[in-house]
Amino acid sequence: MSARHSSQVLQVFEIENDPVFRSDGAELGHLFRAGTRWLELHVQHVNNINVFPVADGDTGVNMLLTMQAALETAEQVAGREAGRVAEALAQGALMGGRGNSGVILSQFLQGLAAGLAGKSAFTSSELAAALRLGANQAWLNVIDPVEGTILTVARAAAEAAEVSSRTEPDLTVLWTAIVSAMRAAQAATPQLLPLLRDAGVTDSGGQGLLYIFEGGLRYLRREPMDTPGSIAVAAPVRYPSGESSQAYYDVQFLIKGDRLDLDDIRTRLASLGESILVVGTEQLVRVHIHVADPQAPLRLGAKIGTVSQVVVENLTRQAEFFSQQPVDGPSAVAVVAVVAGLGFVEVFQKECLVLGYPVDVDDLLRAVQQVRANQVLILPNDRDTISIAQPLEALPQKAVRIVPTQTMPQGIAALLSFNERFDADVNARRMAEAARQVRTIEVRDRVTQLNGHSRLHRDVTVWCDGRLLCVGSNPVTAALEALAQVEAENYELITLYPGQNSGRDLVEMLTAEIQIHYPDAELDVFAGEQAHVYFIISLE
């Protein structure tokens, strides 16, 4: 069966304009790869017309990053079954989905995958049905769906496909009908959404989706993909930056768990913020929310499962920046920080794109691509993460500098000396210097082998700036011993960051002891909420 289909696909390459009545997964992959390429060529246009729901000028980048993540996963599929390729596209987009539009796009792909599930190839009418599922899925997963957005354009695609597929079995003809319906829907978005009309633009998410489908059409018609064509790139939409408005954050994360209830999560998030998307399965849920207090949804997530892949971005800062600066101007410097501990997120969230620890190189790469600056400083705040980040310094598109911070307090010291008026090199030097002036003591859980089982034992190891200082059995005594060893009396400020499992008694005990032993030093206590480290103590 698969042999028959591959010969049919080969025909597409050999004999142009021959009608195609059934397409397989490889063809589906080609369509979306071409679409992503076309989107990439027009990404600036999509960014520039971004006014809804938040005018932060990143819709294009977010959709592109989402599609790239989707294709990456799809490439790993062995064979060319349409159902499996579609499933991989959806899964990749779910895991790598960025921003509001990215998560909606991932839902569209999710529906498409559901429609193609189990199929090795698809006909026009099967594709139409799958597109309908995609448009529905996208609509259903937005808590407060609005017309005149990507949702409207996706539905136009599905409707056109349904009508056309009744009479037209050929994929190219079908895709042509889809694209022309999408263009009409896209042009009409300002009539449905007054915000767009006032700004004199069409919807950015819809435009992004349209580019993806146009790219597919160019592929089918064998048209060149290397020039942006005649589409004029609109100037970025300027809007008054709300100085009085509260800072707003884009928060995304995954929850791993058991029998997760998506509706329940949605309901509980609804009171916290806006632009809420909750998608996934009972075992794995992706959450996207715009919120004033990023801690709230993250805590909710941590309560019902294991939170990972945390990304927190300050939208207000980005929007202000977008309204003031030339887009991706050379002066733009941004900071990406890898942060372990929910409490620490709060310290970094205002000025950095925050990634939850641990990260891999792809997470960092996506973050670097996502920030609206062509110079990016990375604060790894962990020794291994420094090595993981290293390859990014060779990126050709952006100047990436890694400030080699090994601990959270070093990262904080480095961030404090960040100044966006300096370029990345000057900042990297100043920040590294600031980090060097902080001493960090970490009192860690010691994982010991008992009876062949790895388990947490009440032993602790104490580290100073990455060096093993001593081993103890009581975290408080061990911390005090470490403070004595590094001669804490010579420092002005001692900051104590209790971890997730430190317990109030231990914190109170240690606080009291430090005040007794070091009465001249100022003592600051801030819950870092890190895992596996009872206490992080910094000396300055």
Binding site: V347, E351, I412, L416, Q437, E492, L493, E540
Partner: protein
């Protein structure tokens, strides 16, 4: 030939006792409101007293610019009794509306007087330096145009750098965008700020007094030519921090004076009661 020029400023300008009278400077006071109480900046309160009251009442003091009528009255009086050449130099328009009130007040005398209104792009000691230079030039008989030229020439050579214990006051005064506000206030952090083109902009942040003072010192050390400086702080009596900074500077610049002065209530409502800073007037080489 040309008439003598009268110099007007506002109460945010810093003067040593007796200087105002000696140089014949006219000072229009800003107002400070604390709850229901209205105080005149620089006259009926000083910074320490204001914050003692604020602490007791739990209210934030708020500064208000003078009314246009108050400027009009001062200008009219000068016109009646002294001269029709007036130079009015004021606190930065980025910090206060005072300059706009002065312009509005001057409109009433259009045609009768030549009134020049100049935005000092600074406040406190820096504004005082400019006003005194203007008054001295006026006493020597310089024309209005010449004095304006002199003041405008001095403007870019006056610097103010300081650190604050809390950003609350700056955030409250709305002079710093919310997104600029630093790292919340959960950790003890001392932002270092800088007056540039009349606006207060954050430079960087440190966590200890020692580092904050070091940053102020480094800033001063970069100048080749220090004409005049002043360390500003909240209390009449020099604080520990101000004394440390003074010692450090005197060691490196043995020939220079680093007086410690108390900044006024108006500036205190903007940057808070616990700032320490330094004003630098860089000598001009002509």
């Amino acid at each position: 030939m040309s008439q003598k020029v009268a110099i007007v400023t506002d109460s945010t300008a810093y003067f040593e006792p007796g200087e105002v009278k000696e140089l014949g400077i006219h000072v229009v006071p800003l107002k400070i409101r604390l709850g229901n109480e209205k105080l005149l900046d620089g006259l009926s309160t000083d910074t320490e007293e204001l914050f003692r009251k604020a602490g007791l009442s739990g209210q934030f003091p708020i500064s208000y610019p003078p009314d246009p009528a108050e400027f009009e009255q001062v200008y009219a009086e000068i016109h009646r009794e002294e001269t029709d050449q007036i130079l009015s130099i004021h606190i930065s328009g980025h910090l206060s509306d005072t300059i706009h009130r002065a312009r509005a007040g001057a409109e009433a005398l259009m045609g009768r007087c030549s009134i020049m209104i100049v935005d000092s792009m600074t406040t406190s000691v820096g504004l005082g330096i400019l006003v005194k230079a203007a008054a001295r030039a006026a006493r020597e008989g310089a024309s209005l145009d010449d004095i304006v030229r002199l003041v405008r020439g001095m403007l870019p050579h006056i610097y103010l750098i300081f650190y604050v214990e809390t950003m609350d006051y700056l955030e409250r005064s709305g002079r710093i965008g919310k997104a600029q506000a630093v790292l919340g206030s959960m950790l003890s952090i001392k932002p270092i700020l800088f007056m540039e083109d009349g606006d207060i902009i954050p430079l960087e942040k440190v966590r200890t007094t020692e580092k904050a003072l070091e940053k102020l010192f480094e800033f001063v050390a970069e100048f080749d030519n220090l004409e005049q400086t002043a360390i500003i702080q909240r209390s009449k009596q020099p604080s520990k921090e101000a004394k440390l900074l003074k010692e450090r500077l005197e060691q490196s610049f043995p020939k220079l004076q680093f007086p410690i002065i108390q900044y006024g209530p108006d500036l205190a409502t903007r940057i808070g009661p616990n700032a320490v800073g330094i004003v630098v007037y860089e000598g001009m080489s002509f």
